[in-house]
Amino acid sequence: MASNVHAPDGQHYYVPNGSPWPIIAAVALFALMVGAVLYLDDVTGPWSLLIGPVLLLIMFGGWFHTVIGENQQGVYNTQVDRSFRMGMMWFIFSEVMFFAAFFGALFYARVFAVPWLGGAGIRALTNLILWPHYEAAWPTNGPGHIGGERFQSMSAYGIAAINTLVLLTSGLTVTIAHHALRAGKRTRLKIFLALTFLLGFTFVALQAHEYYDAYTRLNLRLTTGIYGSTFFMLTGFHGLHVTIGAIMLVVVWLRVLRGHFTPRQHFAFEAVTWYWHFVDVVWLFLFVFVYWL
């Protein structure tokens, strides 16, 4: 599989020969999308949502297996390593911009749309004629009370505060693990890395509880107007990213158990760390703009 133009000597920039994984990935993505279409269009039950993720898992397994194998063979020189790093950085940047779209929606709604509906600025008549009696405030589910007359908003001091602590701590533990790796202290590395993903899963569990609470007690749902939309979409996508990040941490941890990574070369470890910090930073923004202010 990993044959190369040159003997894999780490001297040259490694250019892999043909690989089946990318096309499998493309098919998996396609299956994911088609599965979702079939489900949303009521052609099939929700099972069709599963094909894509399963294929994706297989693909990731196979692709990473190949890459890890090549890495262990030592065919990646530092330049290849740098490509991976840059690739990961820019990927994270693209994720940042994805969240930016939703934050943009939140800010737009809070700064423009809702006040306008309440008659602010050039929109006095909008309020007077179309939405009489609506008073702009945040949180809101809009003048049409979409999703029910009454709902409670999410407090910043309950689970959100605890989760902030959980995530910040996990940022700390992963950094300790990183230092341990660089210093060659494997036991400490294993412990703190495990702590990190355990904290990650704790976060997800608490968030699940928070959602449950929202739906059952607060009457706060995805359908609760713009507040519910922005709240659940932002925290939901974030939670998804935490889950993915935690799974990646588990994989890295398993690799650590197998003795992978050296104090000097551990790109995968670092990539996951960056990702984890990114998730962390997004949370801070969420905490401030979604829960707190």
Partner: protein, 536 residues
Amino acid sequence: MAEPHAETTAHAEHEHMPHGWRRWVFATNHKDIGTMYLVASCVMFFIGGAAAMVIRAQLFQPGGKLVDPGVFNSLITLHGLIMIFGAIMPAWVGLANWMIPLQIGAPDMALPRLNNLSFWILPFAFSLLIATLFVPGSAPAGGWTMYPPLVLQFGDSFPMLIFAIHLMGISSILGAINVIVTIMNLRAPGMTLLRMPLFVWTWLITAFLLIAVMPVLAGAVTMLLTDHFFGTSFFNAAGGGDPVMFQHIFWFFGHPEVYIMILPAFGVISEIIPTFSRKPLFGYEAMVYATASIAFLSFIVWAHHMFTVGLPVSAQLFFMFSTMLIAVPTGVKVFNWAATMWKGSLTFEPPMLFAVAFLFLFSIGGFSGLMLALVPADYQYHGTYFVVAHFHYVLVSGAAFAIMGAVYYWLPKWSGRMYDMTLAKWHFWLSAIFVNVLFFPQHFLGLAGMPRRIPDYAVQFTDWNMVSSIGGFAFGLSQLLLPYVVWKCVRSGKRVEANKTWDGAHGLEWELPSPAPFHSWTVPPSEALIARGAEH
């Protein structure tokens, strides 16, 4: 200099070039992937063009009875999406794949397997998009801009549209990451940033734009999806949202998107004009800075697409001024190209012909863009054929002409053969004449009051529509020459012996044999070669 290198590659090629379908499906070679991108782009150009032909046939006369109005709206929607995401963008990625490693002295793209994935997502994405025509209910017919609430009215095809966009977005982002990493990390020693050819520079900046805005589009269409299926209220006033919010998010993506399509064109023109003027590019550094300024400005002008939605006056003023500013760096580019030709020793091979036509016609498109930026005047222009004329000038006689010029410029390098110059010139002249017959009258139509996106019109618009349609058919037919010329060249063109096809050409790609060997700079080029290539 090139000899020892040629030897190693010949050897490598013999041993490692894969054969059969695996070569393409499992491809990791930047040239193979580039070729696939270009072929796919050509196919999509013809599919999008076929839709355009139906549009022009319907509009040939009033009372148009060719297709149902709903189908017509689907056709313009698909035409816009296919041309932008299927024809123009993949063509640029294909050219990036082919040329960037050659031009910076790299062995390949930095992440070859990812490269393969970026490409292979596309056929799936467009199958999903085009399949919308065949599902029950209407295909998406809300225009390529997908404004809610209209777009939310479409049924079974709606999620197909959304997920096709997601796929295209993933493909573009991964492709752009690859380009950035290749340029930042794989330049040969000595290939400093300010020695890079402008095509590489413009692509570097384009890739940055792509990574910055494609995720925003993904976010926007995701909100459409949840508004449609899961009861969110992003674009629903009753729930505290705003339909116009979609437009803001969309155009935050959409305006940079149009520069994504034109910046690489600026790069290509900056390669072709010096070559056929036999003179270094005038003001290389200014060109780099101008490109960067355009990219920066492109993030703060988006609302010029929304002057009639009822923005506060202060916002309209801001977006008018920022939009007008873009004319300055763009002007710098045009002037630099003009200065490059000045006191040159010009010849007019097909690439140069396309480049010269680009200069004139892109500028005309830019001028109408500037007129559109004048807000009070845009109150009249907006939503009319004046806008359609504007963007086809910059997209067809701009971006598409630059792509054709690039193909004629580098085809001998790719194939090792020369194409039929006479036919290529025919292709050029027919295109250049009919593109104007096709799109110039649309300015008149728009000014005289013909809205865009209508399948039928008042009788006084007949005459110019007929002219436009005739121009359209002739332009479309002329395009058949392009694949024919390429095909003929690859099959039976005369072999080119020299590394350098054009006597005035500079740059590393011309130091490699023609056709370029399967693996590019397996041994990095020497400093001397780089310096010779970077004489600007």
